[in-house]
């Protein structure tokens, strides 16, 4: 077993640390205070574009673990970079320009031509560009088989009709990967993934959600009203869906297998931040309130142990993805374990800080609100347990 990470991954983490301290933390705090996202024309985003960061998440340039290794460490790097970025501010991290959650389905399902065309805007360094992903609907969240956004075949393309919600960065996205169904009765077999480009007639942002935390980026509801999408924007084109009855659904699920460990590791990053706040407070507590010293020290030990076990759960799922080992169960274990455990760590940090954690616009209170979202997005705890149960061969309910 080798737990060494490559130099390029270490460099990527270091870069995020520098950016995080200087920009992500202050911008994230400001967005939270003002209750509005970071403006898309903020100079910071142009700087990020210039750095070449936008090529992240395109499924390319994956470094090798070591010279002797047979596989890349792209997922491991994504997990560690996401952890570091979230340490500074998860909301600001997600607001960064790039393909975002739209990247994995395009990388996995797209034809070479589609990848070339839709990833192209992210290779330039002149201006910030975003992409987005949209699956959730007012009537279909965890149960994605229930989506009702319809795709009707028409001459030269498809007409989309429906509504999507909780789509991050979609108001500023160059394109959005939209999942729709050609026939709701076909359930999962009816799913298709489309790239809907910005300014497509019928694509309209209806509202920006007001969230409890993670206010640095926009989460939106949008409608697709007789929205025409050309054939070449059907991800993978028809042949992709003919190879398996549930190919569209599988594509979405495969994307989740890549992104769930990343979401989980973001929670770990937030927990680490809370741990550091509590550790700093311990120095004062040890001097001023000696009766609490032992209690706090014990809590710090538990917090650190929890952070480490959560991180290893994420890294194992990511390592398996890099090594092309099926990781659906491990991805769900990481997602089921790390966010609630990280919330525990943050809440323990708040306890250690006491009322001080509530004063001076403390980050601690914000961390608690931020980390809770990671227990929800990309499948709640219940959904992860469902996936895990299925992989353990446990009998599910008669509704299956």
């Amino acid at each position: 077993m080798n737990i060494e990470i490559s130099k390029s991954t270490k460099d990527a983490i270091e870069l995020v640390r520098i950016i995080g301290k200087e920009y992500l933390r202050p911008l994230g705090l400001e967005a939270d205070r003002l209750k509005r996202p970071i403006p898309k024309d903020h100079p910071f985003y142009f700087m990020v574009a210039k750095s070449g960061y936008m090529t992240q998440g395109m499924g390319s340039e994956e470094p090798k673990t070591s010279k002797s290794s047979s596989h890349s460490e792209g997922s491991v790097r994504s997990v560690l970079v996401a952890e570091e970025g979230s340490y500074w501010d998860r909301g600001a991290l997600v607001s960064l320009p790039g393909p975002g959650l739209g990247g994995p389905p395009l990388a996995r399902m797209g034809t070479p031509e589609q990848k070339e065309r839709f990833f192209a805007p992210f290779r330039q360094k002149e201006r910030p560009v975003w992409a987005a992903f949209a699956m959730t609907e007012p009537g279909a969240g965890s149960d994605v088989a229930r989506i009702t956004t319809r795709a009707f075949k028409t001459k030269g393309g498809w007409v989309l009709k429906g509504q999507k919600m909780y789509s991050s960065n979609s108001p500023r996205a160059e394109w959005v990967v939209v999942f729709a169904t050609i026939d709701p009765d076909l359930k999962r077999a009816g799913h298709r993934a489309f790239i809907v480009e910005k300014n497509t007639p019928g694509f309209e942002i209806l509202r920006i959600e007001h969230k409890m935390g993670l206010r640095a980026y926009e989460t939106a509801t949008f409608s697709l009203d007789e929205c025409f999408v050309p054939d070449e924007n059907l991800l993978g084109e028809e042949s992709y869906y003919e190879s398996s009855q549930q190919k569209g659904f599988e594509g979405a699920m495969a994307a989740f297998n890549s992104t769930r460990p990343i979401i989980a590791s973001m929670a770990v990053g937030i927990a680490r931040c809370a741990y550091d706040l509590a550790k700093d407070a311990y120095k004062d507590i040890a001097i001023q309130a000696f009766r609490r010293k032992e209690t706090v020290l014990e809590k710090l030990v538990e917090m650190r142990a929890t952070i480490e076990s959560a991180r290893w759960a994420c890294l194992k799922a990511a390592f398996m993805a890099d090594a092309h080992i099926p990781n659906a169960m491990e991805a769900s274990i990481a997602k089921a374990y790390a966010p609630p455990k990280s919330l525990e760590v943050v809440e323990t940090a708040c306890e250690i800080l006491g009322e001080a954690g509530l004063l001076n616009d403390s980050i601690a209170e914000k961390l608690a609100r931020d980390v809770k979202a990671l227990d929800i997005v990309e499948g709640t705890q219940q959904i992860q347990r469902r996936v895990i149960s299925k992989h353990l061969g446990l009998v599910l309910t008669s509704s299956e």
Binding site: R33, T136, G139, G141, S142, D143, A145, R146, M165, Y166, E209, H210, K211, M212, G213, Q288, A289, R291, R292, T295, V296, P340, L343, E347, C350, E351, I352, L353, G354, E355, A356, G357, L358, L359, N360, D361, E365, K366, A368, R369, K372, A373, D375, I376, V377, T380, Q381, Q382, R385, T397, S399, E400
Partner: protein, 357 residues
């Protein structure tokens, strides 16, 4: 034994429900952004006479029970404003001791009068050290003058408005209470030594109040999640048609019911007189141990409620996220869990199990 809620309190609880329905259930977001209740809502709240209930004790311990249950009821809809308009709540225990303590008595000849104005607020804080200079405390009612009573490990300290510095504060919850940061400046504070039992009683009284807020909020969150879970269909069944979710809700309900009963018992055993250390310790044990359990339960229940609603639970369109924030913020007031645990460690030796003959 009679664990029934006295009939005379039922009318008050009904009035609280009517008040919540009329003034709070639709308007809590507005109150949060405006950092105060509307004039009409304040009028409605005053008609409940809850503040008077809090300052009536210790003449009748039944008043404590009524006030505690009313707080629970109101918090189950919205607790954002309670710390402001129910000013005497947590501080009244401390003020009570102040009236019987010689040096403080002279300074605060009628501390209860402070409660019923919007110009003066009596805040209550807990400090683990006696040196409180430059220490920061949380108060409510940003525009008023603040008096502070602070319980340390060995004494009760009074800080007058001239010795405090105020700054508006963002807490992450309870915005309608207009939270304020109070820093103790160079002081002419008055400090009086207080014995362990009395001091712990003061803190435990604040813990009883915060327990009723947390359990009320958790109860509101759970009711909301149950209503949602019965309607929303996932995987061909209502959310709560799935056994794992139904069991999870059942567990939450059990926790809340058990703790609400304990809340009722603790409030009923509010000491009739301050001279009995045994009575003070028993109340303190019940209220402080309840507080530890209420924190855990309320956090768990609001977590489950948010998860049952999924993404909807994280959005401000739904009240569940508000309950989630309120519980976590409230759990840190007045010294939080650590302070309670320290007191409980000492009480363990002083209180015998009242049900063991």
């Amino acid at each position: 034994m009679d664990l029934k809620i006295p009939a005379e309190h039922e009318a008050l609880l009904e009035a609280c429900k009517a008040f919540s329905k009329r003034h709070l259930s639709q308007n809590y977001r507005t109150f949060e952004s405006q950092k105060r209740l509307s004039d009409e809502a304040v009028k409605g709240f005053n008609e409940l006479s809850l503040n008077e209930l809090y300052i009536k004790f210790p003449q009748e311990n039944q008043e404590t029970l009524a006030a505690t249950l009313a707080t629970f009821e109101l918090a189950s809809v919205d607790a954002g404003w309670l710390f402001y308009y129910n000013n005497p709540g947590p501080a009244s225990g401390a003020a009570l001791i102040a009236t019987s303590s010689e040096p403080l008595k002279n300074l605060m000849s009628n501390p209860m009068s402070i409660f019923l104005t919007e110009e003066n607020f009596l805040g209550f804080g807990v400090s683990t050290t006696d040196d409180i200079k430059d220490k920061e405390f949380i108060g409510f009612g940003a525009t008023g003058a603040h008096h502070l009573l602070i319980a340390t490990n060995s004494s009760l300290i009074y800080v007058g408005p001239d010795d405090c510095q105020f700054k508006e504060l963002r807490l992450g919850a309870f915005d309608a209470s207009a939270p304020v940061k109070i820093t103790v400046k160079e002081t002419t504070t008055i400090q009086t030594p207080v014995d362990f039992s009395t001091l712990t009683f003061i803190k435990s009284y604040a813990r009883l109040f915060t327990s009723s807020v947390m359990l009320g909020a958790a109860s509101g969150a759970l009711e909301h999640a149950i209503a949602y879970g019965k309607e929303r269909i996932v995987f061909n069944l209502p959310v709560l048609g799935h056994q794992a979710n139904a069991f999870s809700v059942a567990k939450c309900k059990s926790m809340l019911e058990a703790l609400k009963t304990k809340l009722t018992v603790a409030a009923s055993l509010f000491p009739q007189e301050l001279s009995s250390a045994k009575a003070l310790n028993l109340f303190s044990w019940l209220a402080s141990s309840l507080y530890i359990q209420a924190i855990e339960a309320a956090k768990h229940v609001t977590d489950v409620a948010v998860l049952l609603l999924g993404g909807h639970g994280y959005m401000e369109d739904e009240p569940v996220e508000k309950y989630w924030r309120e519980v976590r913020t409230c759990s840190l007031f007045y010294g939080g869990r650590d302070s309670a645990m320290q007191d409980l460690q000492q009480l363990l030796e002083l209180v015998s199990d009242p049900m063991v003959v």
